[in-house]
Subunit: 772 residues, 2 copies
């Protein structure tokens, strides 16, 4: 837990330089545009603690797996997004001294992440050992308008001296991942091309043979006047540099502009990579830095128009929610259905940039409401395209007949994770992928998705569940043995209620979607069934499971049991745990955690959240009251579900309390792990706490429903929702709800149970509901 | 499965050279003397497939752990017995050609492991590329009479040429373990000393700082006449060599004798290591090779006198049982209570030479019956001495109050294994350690052991069980959650019947031992309780658990349930599994194995075996009939328990069938893994099948009991038993049992329920019992 970020509505601000915080700030101030991203490393050399990180989406390396004890079926590699060419580098030398904030005296240090306009600015004054003092002001961004571009404006001013200054702009491809399993470097050189103003470095990943060409253009200005210069060039296999020496005068403003293009062979033929990079650089050069920055500001303004949340009366909350939205959009823009959302986005190496169930369970709701429909559709199509691999994955585990098990962790559709209790057993991910289809169709009304993509995935998933359950002669029911639920503080349990419920729901949903597609798109339906060699007997099997599945339940307490035997555990509550015992995952050995009743993250409650309409208020309350006091929330994905359910149960104080646990998770380095990267996917959970929790938003019967309340610490809050072509701005204060409908069509919504007509292109005030 | 070993009563024989079998033979023909041991590598150079292995007992290295995903509480290292100085090396060069069986034409190749006399002999004729042919006859042994000594007699004869021959005797300490986690070499050089005839290489292990001095003396003979020679010397940090060139004549017999001492700082002060090695070499040199070999023969004769099993009518069985006994005695001689029995002994690197529960569950019964009492006592004292570390280990996992959890895998008392499902959960090992105390006292009558050592261990183990169970409000019983039983094809189960039963037995046994010690040794008792801050309330707690423990049981089937929920599994029998599916651990993914009903090794039946007097015949039969058909025996420790129980149930055919599964496990390379090393600990299980199974030997009320039968394929069998100072030879044929009592006291035994007096120093014939 830290508290050094200065609160501001639109900016994330750090003042004063503390090397101990640098790796944390490198994560917090990260930049990205969905196609590439980077940690907030310094442009100039820095010999203090740093984690260098530049990433290109979709470019991965299959790092050979290293485990202590191999289990049959483990994947051979863990695909990870690579540390790619460092393109920000600008080395600064003043006579024989090098600018390095670890060695200079630093004052007036300030870092600002301007979230409204999408750039990072850093300024400081450095006094070198010689006494020479210089001011630096660096601004950079990853362009969201053209996601193959990045740009830096690096300004420096000699405060108290005139001297020769050397500026070396470089591209460094001789990088490696800190988490490389065998200390390997993952890039081979392909091509270099350099002149006075431009440099192009092309590298190829080992094994996967992706090529990435990084091109740069540099421009020198003194007191805003462009300068001719003659650079001294360095041209190595994986390293290119242009060294400019200029005679700098006291108080001059020296500016080096560096515009960079990052092109991947995923998007361009390898043979054209270099020439395309040159064209992109030529265009960018023609536009110039200012125009690129303007385009960036406009692009971000457009994003905010569809997604902003305004919180009045709580600047920390305001900053945090915008930070979360900003980072989510920096990570994923939805343009490319081959990309997805790594838990740390472009802000660190951890989790390898891979896709987890986080996407379907937490991120899809965010993108559905805040971005064009195609964005979440692409997240779904990502899995659709990996269906073949998911079927292969299931085959490796002994499943047949086209059953699919999507991987727990993946980049290209192949499983990467190798803890048996997760890889093989945390199969609820399959259900989350089905749920995302349901969620998407429910929200968008785009039921053509089902015939075109969804049903095929659902059939394969249902085939998996059919084979994964077995008949228990003892219970006279179907059971599901040996699974790990969302609560990873249990492993290899029998009849995890959530997984059983999800499996049965998947089967039911697939049956209903199949019926719907059969009616609406009979030809497509027939084609699909033929392609899959599907027999109607399978439907009968599924119905049998739906009707005869076992769900652990305690009649005395009236609660669903997380799994068989849960009540055999010693029932202690989290509040009775000594502070010194927490977090459990750092203080307790694994077996102790496993046999305790403590829950890492919502499990039964995750199921109730997904399927809340299946349960009455009392059932939800009983389960919430039973499980919440046993949940330690040691996953950042946990509190949002509790927040939303607490809100549903009208427990506004607790809804707010749970929201607080993740709202500023990274800004305040809550878990002392922000230096590894940001918790991108859990940021979507915070958004959910506000929109689904405080505002109680749901979609039912093609209609938006709100059950809002105003957290007592706030004066008001408002958020934007894209719903079926319309952008609504819902504003809630203590007295009223106002909804601005920016679309040309009226819309009817339900607020606290009352139908309300929201006229087109106006703001409607709803005052006849209780809010506080 | 292979079948290339030639059957013989006293010898293991390989004829003909097949490089594909070499690594298997290297394991099978291994030598050892409890203090050091080695794989049957060739003395001369060999460029074909080989696993070089020379080991010194108790000398280990803490190899840094490498796991994919770290869990809190994992040990930081895996201590492994090291590949130590290769002392057998004799390089042979004929002019410019090197003798290398991978490159020569080999004929008349023969390897013989003489088990009666304890040596390895190898002879062959090699034709080099040049056409030069030479005969080699090499004999070597690890002395069991002086366990710091080894010796080689390497003879060669030029068959069809006269030429210069170079013989290079060397000590090579520049070795590493194949399984090194980080490719590290584990030895640092300390000292070298070499002259024409002697060489001394002292090395020190990194981190643990053990020192081992390997000294050698060489002697050259031509046609049995000692020769003067002037060797050319090589003296490097970790490598010493004496190169002798001699002008060899056709048909001459050239002999190089190499006598080697291996001294460890575990047994000698480091400062005296070299001088002691020199003294040991001087003594051995004075005795000479023949005398050392004679001493070896005599020492082995003495071992066989106490332990031999004779099987008539089945030479394969005869060879196998002697092989098992021979290898067990090569691995552990019981002289040193700091040593124990690695599952692969000195025959390979796998399992790191560490101690597992195999020792207590399988090896102790063997050594109790076939070796002096001190031998098994030392195995027990090994654990006693590690009690402090076992308490530390439990503390790391959150236990308090002096509770001990002995490690699953250890050399020095610290846990080495790092799969949570085994390390943290396979806690039944604690019970096996308690059971070995009970077994030892039952067999030897040495109840002083309890006061001197046993009770302290039992109290610490009972404290562990007390804390490891918890009260289930749901079941109104004590339960034990999250364990892995002996059947490792289940992980993290609740209420494993075996573990629950063993825990309760431990508590009961500890209570009774405490009472006994209190009565017989009140002072010692008081001291101990004071030392342990033991309060009588603890006894009350234990009694409460004993009286209120939950045991899963199925009333319909009348069987103990292996664990909660076992009957939820799909109940398929092993006989209905396709051959292509087996072994499961190679064909199925781990989750599939876990959720299947298939059992890796005896679990409930292991408990019934341990505590058979607690159960009536029908209960044993019901459980056997239920579990046996579900057991795949993919642990070599499994069949013996089934064999013994089948024998008890008078199912002689099956008793024999189970015996067959491991009797020739390594000789026939049953599981295609003998090349990694021999299954030393499961060899004790085969012995148990014969003695406890076929002969039905038990000890009850200080008396030996036999319920023998004769396997129908055999004419007769006899075995030797040391029981309380007497050596009995029990011979069983189709018609009678004869017992020869070599002691001066008569003994009363029970045979098939009939008391029988066995007079001293005579053979008693018992004919009034049914045997077939």
């Amino acid at each position: 837990m830290k508290d050094y970020i200065i609160k501001d509505e639109w900016n994330v601000i750090e003042e004063g330089f503390d090397p101990q915080l640098n790796k944390i700030s490198e994560s917090i101030f990260s930049l990205g545009n969905g196609r590439m991203g980077q940690r907030a490393n310094f442009e100039e050399s820095y010999s203090g603690p740093t984690l260098s990180g530049n990433y290109v989406a979709g470019v991965y390396y299959p790092d050979k797996t290293r485990v202590g004890w191999w289990k049959n079926g483990y994947p051979e590699y863990f695909a990870k997004v690579l540390n790619a060419t460092n393109w920000i580098g600008i080395k600064v030398q003043i006579e024989d001294e090098e600018l390095d904030l670890a060695k200079a005296e630093v004052s007036d240090f300030k870092r600002v992440l301007n979230m409204r306009e999408g750039y990072l600015q850093r300024s400081f004054t450095a006094t070198l050992s010689s006494g020479k003092r210089l001011k630096v002001n660096a601004l950079r961004f990853c362009s969201i308008a053209n996601d193959e571009l990045g740009a830096i404006q690096y300004q420096l001013e000699p405060v108290n001296f005139s001297a020769d200054i050397k500026l070396t702009a470089f591209l460094d491809g001789d990088v490696k991942n800190e988490d490389s399993n065998y200390d390997e470097k993952f890039w081979d050189p392909v091509d270099t091309d350099i002149n006075n103003e431009e440099a192009y470095l092309t590298l190829r990943t080992k094994k996967t043979n992706f090529e990435v060409c990084t091109g740069s253009f540099i421009k020198l200005l003194v007191n805003q006047q462009p300068q001719q210069f003659k650079a001294s060039l360095t041209q190595q296999d994986k390293f290119l540099a242009q060294e400019i020496t200029l005679n700098a005068k006291e108080k001059q403003c020296i500016t080096l502009v560096k515009i960079v293009a990052n092109l991947s062979s995923q998007n361009h033929p390898k043979s054209e990579l270099l020439q395309t990079a040159k064209a992109v650089i030529a265009q960018a050069k023609a536009k110039g830095f200012e125009a690129l920055l303007d385009a960036q500001k406009q692009a971000w303004a457009k994003k905010w128009e569809q997604s902003d949340i305004i919180i009045k009366g709580d600047v920390a909350a305001q900053q945090a929610i915008r930070f979360n939205i900003f980072q989510l959009f920096q990570t994923y823009t939805g343009k490319d259905d081959r990309l997805n959302i790594g838990p740390k986005g472009f802000t660190g190496e951890k989790y390898g940039g891979s896709t987890y169930w986080d996407t379907e369970a937490y991120c899809v709701p965010f993108y559905l409401a805040t971005a064009p429909q195609q964005v979440s559709k692409n997240l779904l199509i990502y899995r659709y395209k990996q269906l073949g691999k998911a079927i292969e994955n299931a085959e490796k585990l002994g499943f047949t007949n086209g059953a699919a098990l999507f991987p727990m962790v993946t980049i290209n559709g192949e499983e990467c994770h190798n803890e048996w209790e997760i890889t093989f057993e945390e199969i609820h991910r399959n259900g989350a992928i089905a749920y995302a289809i349901y969620n998407y169709v429910r929200y968008t009304g785009d039921d053509s998705y089902l015939a075109d993509y969804g049903l095929e995935v659902l059939l394969a998933i249902s085939r998996f569940w059919k084979q994964r359950v077995n008949w228990s002669a003892d219970k006279n029911k179907f059971v599901m043995l040996g699974v790990t639920g969302p609560n990873e503080y249990e492993n290899n349990v029998n009849n995890n209620w959530y997984t059983n419920y999800l499996a049965v729901w998947c089967l039911k949903y697939t049956l209903s979607v199949a019926q719907e597609v059969q009616q609406k798109r009979p030809e497509k339906y027939a084609q699909l069934l033929a392609k899959l060699s599907f027999s109607d007997a399978e439907f009968a099997d599924w119905k049998n499971i739906v009707e005869n599945m076992y769900f652990p339940f305690d009649y005395e307490k009236g609660v669903f049991l997380q799994q068989d035997g849960y009540l055999d555990k010693e029932q202690i509550l989290v509040k009775d745990l000594a502070a010194s015992e927490r977090p459990l995952n750092q203080k307790w050995s694994w077996d102790r955690i496993l046999r305790s009743c403590f829950i890492k993250q919502a499990d039964v409650l995750q199921g109730i959240y997904f399927f809340e309409d299946d349960f009455d208020h009392q059932t939800i309350k009983r389960n919430f009251d039973f499980y919440e006091p046993r949940t330690v929330h040691e996953s950042s994905l946990s509190p949002c579900v509790h927040s939303i359910l607490a809100a549903k149960l009208n427990d506004e104080a607790r809804a707010y309390e749970f929201y607080l646990r993740t709202a500023r998770l990274d800004l305040d380095d809550y878990n002392n792990d922000t230096e590894d990267g940001l918790h991108i996917t859990s940021m979507a959970g915070t958004w959910m706490s506000v929109v689904e929790g405080f505002a109680g938003m749901r979609v039912r019967d093609n209609q938006l429903i709100f059950n809002p309340f105003l957290p007592s610490k706030w004066e008001s809050f408002s958020f934007k929702i894209n719903f079926r072509g319309a952008t609504l701005t819902i504003s809630i204060n203590a007295k009223q709800i106002r909804i601005y409908n920016a679309s040309a069509q009226k819309l009817s919504v339900i607020i606290h149970g009352q139908p309300q007509e929201i006229a087109a292109l106006t703001e409607t005030e709803i005052s006849n509901v209780t809010l506080v």
